[in-house]
């Protein structure tokens, strides 16, 4: 089981998304020479710069950031990629049937389903990537549209639907994992309390037993100290009652350790 808390997990996955931006967006440059007219390079570098800024921000402030701010950083990083695609893909569209459209968006929505730190940021990221592709459709001239594969944007929308389903399922698994961690933590705390209560009772009850038998002995000897012995009996009873109050704590957990144990050490460890 992953022991990291929700925030640590969110920082980790957002860092991974930013790293994919920094390493993945420049791949567009590899295809620049194939284009009929040169494409601008700055959208690639701008997206990478946003990725670098997100990485630096997370490394410096990630531990103090709230979940919503981490999710916001994730959305900013994803939006930078979507905007770069929006600006670059019209050049790729000029390749006509030689272009396989929206592969980046298809990959992007699946990555969002696996890395988005929250449900909301995941849905926004998927929607942004799909919107960047649909915007291209709106932007292209009818002649250019006719050159694109007829099925699009259908396959992209199917990818997006699957990505949303995976995102929901992943969020559900994360919640189950967090619940399990919470239960395990509560159980460990209950076990520690039980062992402390047990150690107190173990230490207190032996001298109480000695006192109880000693008072009985003095009574049988009729030492003429009845009132004093009554007081001692009351005191013993009160301490016994205190021990009784600890019983539920000690018996909440049936521990499986050795029957002979070091009660004073256990109490010292509990401090």
């Amino acid at each position: 089981m992953n022991e990291a808390g929700p925030r640590e997990q969110a920082v980790r996955t957002t860092l991974a998304a930013a790293a994919l931006n920094i390493l993945g967006t420049p791949i567009e440059l590899l295809f620049a020479r194939e284009l009929p007219i040169p494409m601008p390079l700055w959208p690639v570098f701008a997206a990478m710069a946003v990725g670098v800024a997100v990485v630096v921000t997370l490394l410096v402030h990630g531990r103090q950031m709230s979940m919503s701010n981490i999710a916001l950083l994730y959305v900013v990083n994803n939006t930078a990629i979507a905007l770069a695609l929006l600006l670059l893909q019209p050049y790729f569209a000029l390749l006509g049937r030689a272009w396989s459209p929206f592969q980046e968006q298809k990959l992007g929505v699946l990555v969002a389903s696996l890395l988005a730190p929250t449900l909301g940021s995941g849905i926004v990221a998927i929607a942004t990537l799909v919107a960047s592709a649909l915007a291209l459709f709106a932007e292209l001239a009818p002649d250019d549209l006719r050159e694109l594969p007829v099925a699009e944007p259908g396959p992209l929308l199917i990818f997006a639907i699957f990505a949303v389903v995976i995102l929901f399922y992943r969020m559900h698994l994360l919640e189950v994992q967090r619940s399990t961690t919470r239960i395990a933590t509560a159980n460990a705390a209950a076990a520690a309390t039980a062992q402390t209560a047990l150690a107190i009772r173990d230490l207190a009850n032996t001298p109480l037993q000695t006192l109880r038998l000693s008072v009985s002995r003095l009574r049988r000897d009729d030492a003429g100290q009845g009132i004093v012995l009554d007081r001692m009996d009351h005191a013993i009873t009160r301490i016994s009652e205190l021990n009784e109050m600890l019983r539920p704590h000690g018996e909440e957990v049936l521990y499986a350790g050795p029957a002979s144990f070091d009660a004073p050490s256990r109490l010292r460890r509990a401090r």
Partner: protein
């Protein structure tokens, strides 16, 4: 098997108090030991008693009252066994031992009358 009683208790004050009280009840001396090894060393005397009063926690790392009970069973002890413990059934092994046929579990402190009932009348399942 007569009315003899063996007391296994590591706390010297309580051991002395129990010994005194039991001797008064049975009108005869009893075997008192502070540890499992001391009990095993007095095998003949121990196995001729009719009641064993066993503390469970005999100190860190030491054999426990449960080990003593196992020793008694292994040596065909015919008497009854009372676990007199400070913390009752919280330990899984203690809870399990308390369910065996010839043993009961009592939590400290018990009073003299209760001790007398157990010594004289058994008060066992």
């Amino acid at each position: 098997v007569g009315l003899g009683v063996v007391i296994l208790e590591d706390d010297s004050d309580l051991r002395a108090s129990l010994k005194e009280a039991v001797s008064e009840i049975t009108k005869s001396p009893c075997v008192d030991v502070a540890s499992y090894n001391a009990m095993a060393a007095r095998e003949d005397e121990v196995l001729h008693t009719s009641l064993a009063i066993l503390d469970i926690n005999l100190g860190p790392g030491a054999p426990s009252g449960l080990d003593a009970h196992e020793w008694l069973v292994k040596h065909a002890y015919r008497g009854r066994v009372v676990f007199l413990t400070g913390h009752a059934r919280s330990n899984a092994l203690v809870a399990s031992a308390a369910n065996t046929g010839n043993a009961i579990l009592l939590e400290k402190p018990i009073d003299f009358d209760r001790l007398a009932e157990i010594v004289m009348h058994g008060d066992l399942p």
